[in-house]
Symmetry: none
Subunit: 173 residues, 4 copies
């Protein structure tokens, strides 16, 4: 699964063959089918793992008792941390979200998570006294998505730390 994630994320799902995965992982092609019924099955297993590992990280600290500013900062830091540590998971998920056939599977689980984050943002901005908390939430949410997109495609060449630091300074201090 690790090798698969690695290859799926860097070369794309359809661009990665089972043979390739098996050879890279140092096992036989046949063995893969002892653990996963199909290539799609393997993908699903990886995505499920990604959800449990990453999506949870993003939402786990949201109900802490801090000030709205601190909460917002925590979420941003959390997104940043997840993005850096689980970049392959997110790269894969984002890439798949462009494929019509994979969408159905992703939508089911991905959408609620996204909406939960937007709701958190909205609540926080409301507590911070903003006039249009929902719109502000969408702005910041979009900002984080855009930041992620750039980091995922460009990688370390994208000055993610400086930007996120500026974002925090802008909204939380």
């Amino acid at each position: 699964m690790e090798t698969s994630l690695e290859l799926f994320a860097t070369r794309g799902f359809h661009n990665t063959s089972i043979s390739q995965i098996a050879k890279t992982a140092g096992v036989s092609k046949g063995l893969m089918y002892n653990y996963f019924n199909s290539k799609d099955d393997l993908l699903k297993a990886i995505l499920l793992g990604a959800y449990e590992e990453s999506a949870e990280m993003i939402t786990k600290k949201l109900d802490s008792p801090d000030t709205p500013q601190e909460q917002l900062e925590q979420i941003i830091q959390q997104v940043l941390f997840t993005l850096k540590n689980k970049s392959k998971h997110w790269k894969l998920i984002t890439a798949l979200s462009f494929q019509e056939d994979a969408k159905h599977f992703l939508r089911k689980d991905l959408k609620p998570k996204q909406e939960a984050i937007i709701q958190q943002f909205t609540r926080i901005f409301k507590e911070m006294g903003y006039d249009n908390p929902l719109e502000e939430a969408y702005l910041v949410g979009g900002m984080l998505d855009g930041m992620s997109l750039n980091y995922m495609t460009i990688g370390e060449a994208y000055p993610i730390d400086k930007i996120s630091q500026f974002l925090i300074q802008r909204y939380c201090l």
Copy 2:
């Protein structure tokens, strides 16, 4: 090329066969190879077309003699307009930017365009008297990217007009 773009964008490059394109376009498989040396070649031709049609739209009005605020609004409107009218182009480009092997080709042309926009933003924010014009430019640029990402994957369910309106109101009025 039109049919190819349509299919590549909705079904994915690897998920679309030459036969499929030919049949949809109403020509023979063989004829395609009179105009394009390979499937990759066809993709490159489409991407080049996409650049000429879309990327240009984004940058064309930047040297107009308006106020910085008006210039910023114009760029945002331009991005919005392009996103809506050339959504297939951008969907394809963005989806491909996740694949390591396609990156080389894209990077070459895509990066300068992106940097040009960031520079425009930076100049504008400097003229508007912002303290950290570069960082501010990255924020707004990221915001537009995030907005685009959401629109490309979610589609009309994403309230792109309301959000972009709010963005303009926030920065330009």
Copy 3:
């Protein structure tokens, strides 16, 4: 289709690979899929051909205006002729009738044909004044089936001509 029939009939459907057929027929594996969507499709095409060519031969002369004895002889001769000239078709069909999954397809077309023959026999025996025409029909029908079975599996070593001659002499003279 000719090569496929040959191989399916002698080696069995599951025992014959597409590669084998293609190589024997002197074409590429890929070409097979220009004409047949799948191996099953190929089999169906062959079986349909078999029906049109053979089953028809068996029933075509049944409404001739001869005496019952002559009619019976004609049917027997027809079966014999078909068996000898289309032995591969019948070998394949009979072999398949043992496979649970092929049965559905075969039953649909095969059963009516069989019943038609039994009915012809019954009518003939009734006209010939037999006491139990239906039972007699089943006997002769079974006899022909058994004769076919032996001829299909043993081949020329089975004295089919002598036996059918005796059968005719027994019932028709």
Copy 4:
């Protein structure tokens, strides 16, 4: 072996995997290879068992001291009994007899048995005073084969009891 016979007869040899047999029989795949060197070996063992159990049944009562008519009836009854009680064995054997590569193995043992029956029939018909005892033997033998074929492929829908009863009445009473 029991499970294998069951599966081979109903689903076909090539359609039945070792895994399937092992799972159905409740043992491990590996264990099967402690008792049989290969899948072919397993098939041979089953076929040998089939011969010992079934073919013997058919011939065992032939040298009884009854009248020819009674002997003939006994053989027919025996075939009928065997067919009904060992239908899976015969189904498998008959299905295999269509495959060129299995033939060699089957021919060796099957042919003598068949010829023995024909000889018995011939002797009986000679004792009964028939003019062409050998031909008559072939007719009745073929009749039994045809009856078996129909019963094996159609199953209970084939009126085997009525037909065999009529056959007995025809020749033995």
